[in-house]
């Protein structure tokens, strides 16, 4: 009898603790953040924690920032919007000060109440951003700015020009059995938008019905046996190309740039069927522990000379139009800084909500992987 009682007490204690610990995880959904930013001329907090895409905290410009401001940058890299969003929100959301969200994560961050409204009067380069990137729908809601536009670009077809001849002009090559075992594509549910746009005529590939989703699933399942590996980080992609395990795939200009620097004959193309892409914004955590350093970093990386350096690393297009004054007309054209047609041709990542939602996309993607 006594043992039964002791057992019951132990169970009750465990349950009680579970409830207590579980309750601690409750999110603070207070949306009344002030729009007055910190004094950006004040001394920084000495540290800045970021979670961002590869290349956005490259040492070629971060070192200068650390020297200038005394803010030590601790970066965590993410390979997909999902991963970045999950990391950013882990542990209650105070772990990271800044994230470089693409459009398919930025609205999620805003709606979940995990990012702060930015004070554009403290963002020194804001007036020089392209007009369309000052108030884009992916970071500005009801006139409130939750993000500072940074870089944008397209998901391109990358190929090893020594092995893939003639030069491809169509995404169809990534479904061609001739290249069985030589293809690599991102391990990312948002990838579903690509075939939807390129093969099933969806003008808005992020808003597709169940029938289209099923067709995309079949198309991607057809592709699976050809795929050597679904890449997660840009470095995975680059390793696959360097080791010869993959000769073509869908990636970002960053990889073409890196592989060229490594001496490979790698080229990229925007295939005729069209491309998806992304426009990234720096967003500040509502629970940021180092807001001064965060504002300083946002101001630093949107400076024209630093935007030029980020472009050197990533080959993405800078948001600040004044970058052209630093890099010259030719490079400016190469980076499509002012090219409206190029900009508007890209279908930018956003989170699907209807008719099929992102959970259905994730489920479908898992079925493709098997």
């Amino acid at each position: 009898m006594r043992r039964v009682l002791a057992f019951a007490v132990a169970i009750a204690a465990v349950l009680a603790m579970a409830v207590v610990v579980g309750a601690c995880g409750d999110d603070n959904n207070d949306n009344s953040s002030s729009t007055t930013g910190p004094d950006i001329n004040a001394q920084g907090e000495g540290q800045l924690n970021t979670v961002n895409w590869e290349g956005y905290t490259d040492s070629s410009f971060v070192k200068g920032f650390e020297k200038e401001t005394g803010c030590k940058v601790k970066d965590t890299l993410a390979g997909s919007s999902d991963e970045m969003y999950t990391k950013f929100r882990s542990g209650g959301g105070g772990q990271y000060d800044l994230a470089s969200f693409s459009g398919d994560a930025s609205l999620r961050a805003i709606k979940s109440g995990s990012v702060a409204v930015l004070d554009t009067s403290k963002l020194t380069n804001y007036p020089n951003l392209a007009k369309k990137l000052q108030v884009p729908t992916f970071n500005t809601i009801d006139g409130k700015h939750y993000g500072l536009s940074f870089m944008w670009g397209a998901n391109v077809l990358i190929y090893n020009a020594d092995k893939v001849k003639p030069a491809p002009t169509s995404w169809a090559i990534t479904y061609d059995p001739k290249y069985k075992g030589k293809v690599t594509v991102p391990n990312n549910p948002i990838q579903i938008a690509d075939p939807a746009l390129q093969f099933f005529g969806q003008k808005d590939p992020y808003s597709i019905d169940q029938a289209t989703l099923d067709k995309v699933k079949n198309k991607l399942s057809e592709q699976k046996p050809l795929v050597r590996k679904y890449w997660v980080l840009a470095t995975d992609f680059e390793d696959l190309f360097k080791s010869g395990d993959a000769t073509l795939g869908a990636g970002w200009p960053l990889m073409t740039n890196d592989l060229k620097k490594a001496g490979m004959n790698v080229k990229e193309v925007l295939p005729k069927e069209g491309v998806t892409g992304w426009a990234d914004s720096w967003m500040l955590s509502k629970n940021a522990k180092h807001p001064i350093c965060a504002y300083k970093y946002m101001n630093y990386v949107t400076r024209p000379d630093i935007q030029a350096k980020v472009a050197d690393v990533t080959a993405y297009s800078p948001a600040n139009l004044k970058t052209c004054e630093v890099v010259g007309a030719e490079r400016c054209k190469e980076l499509h800084v002012r090219d409206e047609n190029y900009y508007s041709a890209i279908k930018y990542w956003k989170t699907p909500v209807a008719p099929t939602n992102y959970r259905e996309w994730t489920d479908t993607w898992n079925q493709v992987l098997g």
Binding site: R89, G244, R359
Partner: protein
């Protein structure tokens, strides 16, 4: 002041001396509390989370009690998750068998044949790799099995293959190889202990009674080392069921349970569904342990 603290100390020690139960409580308390919070409470939280849902847009947990996650695990998506589950169990079983086959001769050699001074060196050779990161040890297999890897180079140089094959890396086979390699010490060590304990006289007696090598192995050595094999199998099987590093580094597209769970938690932020999958792993391992226990093999380890 000095005498005051001494007085208190003396009182405490006297109280502890008079109450052995209090003494025991103080000694065990911290450890029990630790287990309670970080083990039992965590498990209960996992179970509770698996009965909740996720908001697909914000990824917030919706605390609405439902069995839908388990429904999805067992019947959803054309049996996708069960397929992944069985794939993982099959791989774990294969890896365990490979490790038994590899570890047995090695452990036999270490325990019964080699000279004692070499034994220490062999022991170190088995244990030292465990000090390096598992990431590095699995990554090494990429440089061995890859398109321009060591294996392909040898095969092409010797003319066995015309051109480098891509069949060695980024598939289930390469995952199994990497797992069999990294978990091997966990099989060797218990097997070594079991083999070392068999008295020579048993083997001599078996031979005197007319048993051949095979019969001695089957009827004397195997039953005596069975607990060691089982202990090693528990390690290897459970480590395999939960690992996500090997599938990520050397796996292809097809998912295994550890990787799928890691992605639910670390990428998709679908904690509830991830928790349901984790419960499935947990139940499998508990079942495996229960069977092992019932077989009585653990009683003389």
């Amino acid at each position: 002041m000095e005498s005051g603290t001494r007085l208190i100390r003396r009182r405490i020690s006297r109280a502890l001396y008079a109450h052995p139960r209090g003494r025991l409580g103080l000694l065990l308390g911290p450890a029990v509390l630790w287990l309670l919070i970080f083990y039992l409470v965590a498990l209960v939280l996992l179970l509770m989370t698996s009965l909740w849902q996720q908001d697909f847009f914000t990824a917030d947990i919706v605390r609405h009690w439902t069995l839908s996650n388990y429904d999805k695990v067992f019947t959803g998506q054309d049996g996708l998750w069960l397929k992944i589950y069985w794939r993982t169990v099959r791989l774990a079983a294969i890896v365990t068998l490979i490790d038994i086959a590899l570890a047995f001769p090695l452990a036999w050699f270490m325990a019964r044949i080699v000279a004692p001074k070499w034994r220490t060196i062999m022991f170190l050779a088995v244990v030292v790799p465990l000090w390096s990161s598992i990431l590095v040890r699995i990554f090494a297999w990429r440089t061995i099995l890859g398109g321009q890897g060591v294996l392909n180079q040898i095969l092409v140089d010797t003319g066995i293959l015309n051109h480098a094959s891509s069949a060695f890396l980024y598939n289930e086979r390469s995952i199994a190889i990497a797992w069999a390699y990294v978990w091997l010490p966990f099989m060797i060590l218990p097997l070594y202990t079991a083999l070392e304990r068999i008295p020579d006289s048993y083997l001599e007696a078996s031979r005197d009674l007319g048993a051949g090598v095979f019969t001695t192995f089957r009827r004397v050595i195997l039953p005596l080392t069975f607990p060691g094999i089982l202990a090693g199998s528990i390690f290897v099987f459970s480590l395999t069921m939960g690992d996500f590093v090997a599938p990520q580094l050397v796996g292809g597209g097809s998912q295994v349970l550890g990787g799928a769970i890691k992605d639910r938690f670390g990428v998709a932020a679908d904690f509830p569904f991830g928790a349901a999958l984790a419960m499935l792993t947990l139940l499998t391992l508990m079942l495996f342990l229960a069977i092992t226990r019932r077989s009585g093999a653990l009683e003389n380890v």
